[in-house]
């Protein structure tokens, strides 16, 4: 078994695609139309294009418990998942300039540094750097 996909629940796939590509900088890899306007929509890191794919899935739109869980995590400030970056401070500055909202500014904890932002699609996301 291999790990190839990380699922991120989003309310609006088109809006999520824009945010994750235009703001965060991911690349679209697969966009397969399914019924009811839903898509199998995956993205990859530009610097690791054969690495794991992010799956932007419209679960909260169709499955109430998914929406409930997503809301609860968001309100508690808990990130859905995290992405590695080389420099959290630099990425924080870059995203702030693009209007991204952070709930946790760059913070050091042990051997890591991290920050948490709002992905505008219903989730908190964490960026992390190993010190």
């Amino acid at each position: 078994m291999k790990v190839t996909a990380i699922s991120i629940p989003v309310l609006d796939q088109e809006k999520a695609l824009k945010f994750y590509t235009e703001i965060l900088g991911f690349l679209k890899k697969r966009d397969i139309p399914l019924d009811g306007g839903n898509r199998w929509l995956t993205l990859v890191s530009p610097e690791w294009q054969d690495g794991p794919e992010i799956l932007l899935e419209p679960a909260p739109l169709h499955f109430e418990p998914s929406k409930v869980y997503q809301n609860a995590l968001r309100e508690a400030g808990i990130p859905w998942t995290q992405f590695d970056v080389d420099n959290v401070d630099a990425e924080y500055e870059r995203l702030m300039k693009l209007g991204v909202e952070f709930s946790v500014k760059p913070t050091v904890m042990g051997t890591s540094k991290f920050a948490v932002f709002n992905d505008t699609c219903g989730n908190n996301m964490q960026i992390v750097e190993m010190r």
């Binding site: 309100e75 946790v104 904890m109 051997t111 010190r131």
Partner: protein
């Protein structure tokens, strides 16, 4: 303050309050990052930090979740990918990142990445050629 922020604060105080210890392991990691191509000299590290070698090993594993040896191997594999992309031969790459046997380097590379070094190089280079042409 959100639930997450208060948890971070709590965990930081309970697990990561020993700044000197954290500074020590970060120093070790920097040392490995800067000297990955040579043999790990933990005696040297433990002398400069005035602590025992075994204490250092335990500390590193406690904070990074992997042993210095495992960290070093991953570092070397990452670097070898870069060198292979820069068209160095498998043998040159092997020695340049600090491995001493081409056979064991190839086996390790395949275990870690799913491909042998030559396979990896061939695929990546033909892919970048495709990208340029298209």
């Amino acid at each position: 303050m959100t639930f997450y922020e208060s948890e971070i604060k709590r965990i930081k105080e309970s697990c990561f309050s020993n700044d000197k210890q954290i500074e020590t392991v970060i120093g070790m990691r920097n040392y490995i990052d800067n000297n990955y191509e040579s043999n790990l000299n933990l005696d040297f590290l433990s002398h400069t930090r005035f602590v025992s070698k075994y204490h250092l090993l335990r500390l590193f594993k406690k904070h990074y979740g992997v042993t210095p040896r495992q960290y070093l191997i991953d570092k070397r594999i990452e670097k070898s990918k870069e060198l292979l992309l820069n068209k160095l031969s498998v043998t040159e790459t092997c020695y340049a990142v600090g491995f001493e046997s081409v056979g064991s380097f190839s086996t390790l590379f395949k275990t870690k990445t799913g491909k042998s070094p030559s396979q990896f190089q061939k695929e990546q280079l033909s892919r970048s050629k495709l990208r340029i042409e298209s």
